[in-house]
Symmetry: D2
Subunit: 406 residues, 4 copies
């Protein structure tokens, strides 16, 4: 394959690893390298990535830097939150949901620049390689894929550093850079490695870069109001903002109040278990708020059908199948359910707690006190319950008369 | 039906409502009444119930008071927690899981005393009537059921009080008694009614009778260790106790640290939405801990299958189908998964937060650092990932070559 | 309720039972009766229904007769067949799918005529009462419903006939009329009652009114070609016809060749088991053909997701929930899957057998011989399978090294 | 790897392909080869396999020939039929269900003979390689696996024949041997290749080796009676036989009457579609009979739960996950449902048709005519249906009053 490739688009962060990959691609594949750096809210400046790419000999016109923050929140994060998606009951899928967008944009740049290959810096043991590559191939089945971590022999930190030094790549550690393996975007930060590799161990507090420790969060709670339209957040405290700006603000609120830390062992798609720590301050609030607004506006069976299908939907995202017929089918089902999910939720934030204070929907509330109090009402006749129970019990009555025991 | 009934077993709490029912049954049905009072950890003394029953003319031998606490936790709460059951994503099913045990015991007393009917004090708009009656009929399809709230015309608080006074039933309010409609047992306390009938309103803090407000919980966190065997809790801080005692201790810990409050609008089985507040201090810790010990001991697909079936299982319990073929089938599936769910979880409790500090399993951990770090290992060859991805992507490649877009 | 009702729309077939109901409504409710007779292909002339209604004193303008055949097939039968729906693995839902359309149209006539109630002739033990009434209420929650079979005391054949004779309703049996309880429409005929009430007994052959006995079907087989577009049948033997006409023709073909008889015991929604015989000649061919065209055009995971959700979808239709948020959600998912389900299926019909002879899709086939033969191809590298298997087996390898046995 | 392997157990049929593999293993791996030949009812004598192995230099003590027919039917086929398993709505999984048993036995022989590797003759594009290898690894995670088709360069029929001739392996075609790629066992025969590679083409009739063409089946039908106990077939026409003998007899009956042919395009686990023809004469009768006996003995919700989970269960078997925690969990659920599935089914076989004539269960029938006829009975009060419908409709009524349309 090595001789066939003329041009490759690399998902380039500007960091040490992808800089080494950049150099390695030039050397091993003797091909033109195009760098693609996406801003999905990881909180780093992107101009240094441009400078580093130039320094490594990339032509100005081959450097692509894109701000994908709004697309990320509007077309990826929000649709996913309509489903109340959690992987294995806990993980808010912060990394998983960003990969398809990067892969899609990278594949589009490949088409635009007539590149014949794409490359990424994900390792051979993780989920991200799958998410990237399924995304590439869903967009362009003819793309060749170079996954250096699965190919090269730089399979230890020492070899990597040696390679970098040999090729004049700056290996000085950024001041304050985390020693953990991190992934960050507008929705979350994840941490892996080091002490986390022992699931019995608890990480030191300065691992967390975003959220306050609940113990150090303000003693005063804060009450906010979130407004939803068709299942999507549209305003915080009555202020309408773009999707990305809403999530940024929600992140600030959550981080301040110590909300959204998660420490879990999860099952990777490639077959092993791994430990990860995640902080998802805004997302944690958003999930709770979305469930709450659904609680008064969504039909019971619609809600239950969503709940039954949610684990499958979350698996698809975790495993990298965002661009797939089955995800689109599930999304059609979910979106169909959201048209009346309109209203406001009042929430109190306090030292890691997300406390619901109230929920209301001007036009779409299905809650009506009259129906559930024990006094008579026009819609519900208590005597009807006898027939309801009797017919639901009929199969037990028949079975019981037949001698069956449960 | 009224003339046919000779003997009825009443689920009798000793409170005002079931005392009125007791009298009403005697008057309307002219039948012998047997009272059954269960101790499922509701935290009230049961002897007063005996005295009240005697005062209402019940014969000594017709008064049944049973301590069901151990059976409740061992055979109902723990099996349910093996499933990580949550109704509508949030509710830990504290009331739902207690009803079948009461119904079963009541039906057994009916058989033992040759009673031809059973009666309960649940209203005609709630879920409990269904849970009780499905339970009765699953055990004895020939039992007649008297549900006074669906029959009589005492359909307002005023009429009830008038009836009580007329028949010499004590209507003086117990000092400190909650004005809310409550249900309590070893797993939880629930609250309904009053201000909760407006879902936009937040209840005053003294509604909560069990858990500390997180704001008033200790400033010092507390670390505990829970040990599991085959998915069930067997020890706290290395001390083995009976199931009921374990849950009692876990409740104390949770309550002290402000853990387990929930305020939600839920969908009742009988068709309307209702607002409930719940406090489940021990259960909230238990759920998190159980998921955590599963995270290192349970196979991925076993875990995912459980997650996909959990909403259905939770619905069954919520709707009153504990004694049903389908619940037994799901339980068989769940129990089959738990044989390796052994190990310990370290947890920090702090102002409403349940923070996982570590998890370990001496013999049954499937977590192995070697498999997930990026260095080579004997079990996992990174190059295998290329084939894995390629074959999983094959259907996209074929579809893409056919011109399909996702 | 009896005095409140001024005008009622009756689902009127013109037969004896609904004629008695018509009279009974006039007498008991002293209200104006509007008759609604739908042509959904039951194969009876509808003009006699008009004459009978007039004879029973219904005003000309209160008689509604509607041809719903095209709407029935296009908006009900075809969407359902996109899902390959079968209730309890066998039943093609012929009666179930017709009821919502009748209920909807009847509710619309009630709105149009300012009627305050609707009435139907379904018994109190069957599924149809549920299907009608859920349909009415989904369209107009304020409608009152009169279900005479649950109200009156004409609870035996003798009493009914006596009532009819007393009120001058013709009780002479139509020559050749089946002694079975039948329901017929463009999709099927069903039979209940008589010898069928013993599930160990086999009905005599002249019970079946539509399909040939396979033993008497032609000795010569017949080959037909069905063409699909977006999952719907659009042509038979290259001839494009309206949905209703396509189904009529397919019925003729199926009936001639002894196709589509089914004899089963099913579980009714109201709690008991019942025996039914069904003949669905065209539908039986259509289901097989639709699965076949999907087999070459539908993505694997899309197909599997449909299969997993099909039983729930079929239950919804069987139980009367066609007009429900959950059915609409599932329909959105199913319809999303059908956009590439285009192509032709060749089928041989022979004495009860539906034999697939071939399938092709000009533009949307995902089948490619090159991919599945054992010789090399450009898309599939056999060595990739090793990695695919290895990673899928990883959890077994890890578990096995840990000492677990399966 | 080549030098590390000392002893390999080969799944050896005695045919040309596995004979070539045998020789190739000896040459390439320079290791001792143990042959394992299983009798799972493929209908070939196994002694020739022994002779061929001896001729290829295999030591007498290294030749294992095992009759697995009873184990196959009792522990694999029957448990699977309890689930009514069909892959993609049609395929009875005849090949899929045999592979795990072969893999398990082969892995056991490897342990017994201290072999360090196993080998099979499945190609790199099919499902069987996955089924074999997942089975091996579930039993012994340390086994090395040699899959010659993925390794060698004999990737065309010509090269294979040349290799055979060069090494003195008999390449003369057995008289009457099918030109199709076949797999046969007690449950089915499958066909692939040749004209089947064009899904628009119909195979010539002499491809089918087992079942009569329905057109040539007897003009006289035949009525048989099948008896079930706990969901398993135990007798045909009142004669109790071993599981294997029952299936053999059912196959004879089905084959004679032209029952069980299937021609389909299916989705392989490795990602592509493939065309297969299957004949499953006994299995086709058995599936229909099992559903029928369930129809009168199984609770409704138990049946529906099984139906909803069946596609997942069938996928697991098709994909090779028989030995997996998730299959065992589903099996526990299914087996729990079968304890009352006892009784007899009368079936008429006629030219490809399996016609149910009756079903009965002496002690476990839940069918009772009294419950479904329209006359009054003691168990069912028709008026109860009104309450049942009203409460089930409540969410529509509330939504409708809120202005929602469905």
């Amino acid at each position: 394959m090595k001789n066939e490739i003329k041009k490759v688009v690399l998902a380039y962060s500007g960091g040490l690893d992808t800089s080494i990959i950049l150099k390695w691609l030039q050397d091993e594949y003797k091909c033109e390298v195009i760098t693609f750096t996406a801003d999905i809210g990881q909180g780093e400046e992107l101009e240094p990535a441009r400078q580093k790419a130039l320094a490594l000999g990339i032509k100005e016109e081959n450097i692509f830097i894109k701000d994908l923050k709004d697309e990320f929140v509007k077309d990826y994060v929000f649709p996913m939150f309509r489903a109340n998606a959690l992987y294995e009951g806990e993980y808010l899928l912060g990394t998983s949901i960003a990969r398809p967008l990067i892969a899609k944009t990278q594949a589009q740049i490949a088409i635009q620049t007539k590149a014949d290959a794409v490359s990424h810096g994900a390792t051979g043991k993780g989920n991200d390689q799958v998410r990237f590559e399924l995304g590439y191939l869903a967009f362009n089945p003819n793309l060749k894929i170079i996954a250096p971590w699965r190919e090269w022999d730089l399979n230890s930190r020492e070899k990597l550093l040696a390679y970098a030094q040999k090729h004049g790549i700056d290996i000085s550690k950024k001041k304050g850079k985390s020693p953990y393996s991190m992934d960050a975007n507008l929705l979350h930060i994840s941490y892996e490695g080091l002490v986390l590799e022992d699931p019995a161990c608890f990480p030191e507090d300065d691992m967390w870069r975003w959220t306050k420790n609940p113990k150090e969060a303000p003693n005063e709670s804060e009450i906010i109001e979130l407004e939803f339209q068709k299942g999507d957040l549209i305003a915080i405290n009555e202020k309408k903002l773009s999707p990305a700006k809403l999530l940024i603000q929600l992140n600030q609120l959550g981080a301040k109040h110590g909300i959204g830390r998660l420490d879990m062992v999860e099952n990777r798609y490639v077959g092993m278990k791994s430990r990860g720590c995640y902080e998802t301050p805004g997302g944690t609030i958003l999930l709770k708020a979305h469930r709450t607004i659904e609680s008064i506006t969504l039909d019971r069976e619609a809600a239950h059908l969503k709940d039954e299908l949610m684990p499958k939907y979350a698996n698809l995202i975790y495993n990298g199948y965002w661009f797939s017929p089955e995800r689109l089918m599930l999304q059609a089902l979910i979106d169909e359910s959201q048209k009346y999910v309109n209203g406001k939720v009042s929430i109190e934030l306090y030292k890691g707690n997300v406390i619901i204070r109230g929920r209301e929907s001007a036009n779409d509330s299905l809650f009506n006190t009259a129906y559930c109090t024990f006094e008579e009402d026009e819609v519900y006749n208590q005597k009807d319950a006898a027939g309801f129970i009797k017919l639901n019990a009929l199969r037990f009555i028949i079975a019981g008369k037949n001698g069956r025991k449960f």
